[in-house]
């Protein structure tokens, strides 16, 4: 920003940046590092800063655990339903909010923000009873149903910023060429939202992938646990905590998210900013 920073200032900034980056990357490094060392090294009072006593054993333990695989299937199933449904609903809604001025529009926009404030812990009881009355406890569908409602508001918020960025003239000219209004939305605007859909889809995915408490309330049977429940159960089940296994499991759980984030990194922050700047 400043025109030409002096070399001294620049290296001071670089050193600060380096320390900042190291501090923030350390827990991630520590997680991976400790998933790769032997139990002896983990138990030792002196932490091992490098995986010198290297072993894959913890990953083998986790990958041979059938509960891990069932949790993985469960988590992917839920996340998939949530991403598809939330994106579709949010796409329709953000078209309405971006392309039309209608009665109640402002209330909807304010609700999107206020909904974020409702303390989730208090709704668990009625949500539990509702899902129970539909016989959907311990099911992918029951959990997904609640997650979709929870992630739709935020997804609308993000997607609307991107829809605002697509010129309405494109739709209009498609309609002159004989496209219906909905046809124009789907054939013209939808493809142009590529990065917006990816960015908001990832947030929906992440919300479903990470959620712990609602899953804890709704899923009680052993073979219907999601990954967060599985990893938390892992640390409780044996007398001596298997830290190596926990670290390996946590790393595996983080892996899909990290890959997704790396792919679409730029677009996510921009999506949030677009939502903020354009209202």
């Amino acid at each position: 920003m400043a025109l030409k920073p002096s070399p001294v200032r620049r290296s001071a900034a670089n050193i600060t940046g380096l320390v900042f980056g190291l501090l923030w990357i350390f827990p991630v490094y520590w997680l991976v590092n400790n998933s790769l060392v032997t139990d002896d090294a983990l138990q030792s009072r002196t932490p091992s800063f490098l995986p010198l006593d290297f072993t894959w054993a913890h990953y083998e333990t986790v990958l041979h655990d059938s509960r891990f695989w069932s949790a993985l299937r469960m988590s992917f199933g839920v996340a998939l339903i949530v991403v598809v449904a939330a994106l579709l609903f949010a796409f329709f809604a953000s078209m309405a909010l971006s392309r039309f001025r209608f009665k109640g529009r402002k209330i909807i926009i304010i609700s999107v923000l206020v909904i974020q404030m409702i303390p989730a812990e208090a709704m668990f009881i009625s949500q539990y009873k509702m899902i129970d009355s539909w016989h959907l406890l311990n099911s992918v569908l029951g959990l997904s149903l609640l997650y979709v409602g929870a992630s739709v508001p935020f997804t609308i918020w993000m997607l609307k910023g991107f829809v605002d960025g697509v010129p309405v003239e494109l739709e209009e000219s498609a309609m002159i060429d004989g496209c219906s209004r909905m046809g124009a939305f789907f054939r013209v605007t939808f493809p142009l939202l590529g990065s917006g859909l990816v960015a908001s889809g990832i947030f929906a995915f992440l919300a479903a992938w990470n959620e712990y408490t609602l899953a804890l309330v709704l899923l009680s049977s052993d073979n219907s646990k999601t990954l967060p429940l599985w990893i938390q159960g892992f640390s409780g089940q044996n007398q001596a905590t298997d830290w190596g296994g926990i670290m390996a499991g946590s790393t595996l759980m983080a892996l899909p998210v990290i890959i997704l984030f790396v792919i679409v990194q730029k677009k996510m922050a921009q999506g949030l900013v677009a939502g903020a700047v354009k209202g």
Binding site: R10, P27, M117, A120, M123, G149
Partner: protein, 320 residues
């Protein structure tokens, strides 16, 4: 919104288009309502209905007996007076507010500082910092919780080992989760660590939209760094700052998972409860749903009070 109209476009994928088609659709057109229907419907089912139930329960005597079918009787404001008369609630409220404000303030300060720092770094360092932010951001909360518990473990934790190595012998084998103060220190470090990347990325994305020539002109006019920051940078990124501040306050006040899981280490649940875990304890563990619902409503009210100024300001700025 002035930001997009007076400055360079954010980036290629978002061509500038500030005004939605305003006057064209004045006639009653059912299409927007039809388009909103699925989203509104699912939110109403998932949250609207439970919220209504919760509001009703807040005015009822509702405990385990009612859970199993006994009709619930309305007790007026009984639940609210019971909550407000309970000293544990007030302690929890104070704890929650303090935790929320400390976390939100530090997150914003570090996040803004980090974003501005990013603009001053040489390329490789900047890439490294962004990669670190990205990794921290991507970490699932349960993974982060596990590694933080390990980092602060009393037996083999790296923090105790380092502090002891630095000469603080008392820290060897120290159990961070057994004392409310250090418990919340760890929780705050975790929450801040998790939240800073979002702030950095959002602020950085909007800072890079600032017009270079404006800064150059102000330098020629003799403005120094701080003045530039206050008079050019802050107004430009104000909408983003407002939004992030609102979100941080909301998120930090309703923090649940982190506290809930860290509490399993210490056995001092009562002294480390925040509003979220308090509601959970009273309602789901204690079975007193009426009181829990009343507490939750009070919690919602406090969040609205805390953020209302920002929300209205934000809505005005965005001219929605």
């Amino acid at each position: 919104m002035t930001v997009t109209s007076t400055r360079a476009k954010p980036e290629g994928t978002l061509p500038d288009r500030t005004e939605p088609a305003a006057p064209r659709k004045r006639r009653r057109n059912p299409l927007p309502y039809i388009l909103l229907l699925p989203a509104v419907l699912i939110v109403l089912v998932d949250m609207g209905y439970p919220l209504l139930r919760q509001i009703t329960m807040a005015f009822q005597h509702f405990s385990l007996e009612q859970q199993f079918g006994k009709p619930a009787e309305f007790v007026g404001l009984d639940n609210f007076t019971r909550v407000l008369g309970d000293s544990a609630f007030w302690l929890t409220l104070g704890r929650s507010l303090a935790f929320c404000l400390v976390c939100a303030a530090l997150t914003m300060a570090i996040g803004i500082g980090g974003a501005l720092l990013l603009t001053k770094l040489s390329r490789p360092v900047s890439v490294f910092v962004q990669a670190a932010m990205l990794l921290a951001w991507a970490m699932p909360v349960l993974s982060s919780l596990q590694v933080f518990q390990w980092i602060f473990d009393s037996r083999s934790g790296v923090v105790d080992w380092t502090l002891a190595g630095l000469g603080m012998q008392g820290m060897a084998g120290y159990n961070w989760f057994s004392n409310p103060l250090t418990f919340f220190a760890v929780a705050a470090i975790l929450v801040i660590w998790m939240s800073v990347p979002l702030v950095v990325f959002m602020v950085y994305a909007s800072v890079t939209q600032i017009d270079e020539s404006m800064l150059e002109a102000s330098t020629l006019d003799g403005a120094n760094g701080w003045k530039q920051f206050r008079e050019i940078t802050v107004p430009t990124i104000a909408p983003v700052l407002l939004l992030v501040t609102i979100l941080e306050i909301i998120w930090d006040l309703r923090v649940f998972t982190q506290i809930f899981i860290l509490q399993k280490n210490g056995g001092i649940t009562e002294q480390t409860n925040v509003l979220g875990t308090y509601v959970y304890q009273v309602g789901l563990s204690g079975g007193d749903y009426g009181v829990a619902s009343a507490t939750a409503l009070i919690m919602l009210l406090i969040t609205l009070l805390l953020t209302w100024r920002y929300v209205t300001q934000f809505l005005k700025q965005g001219e929605v």
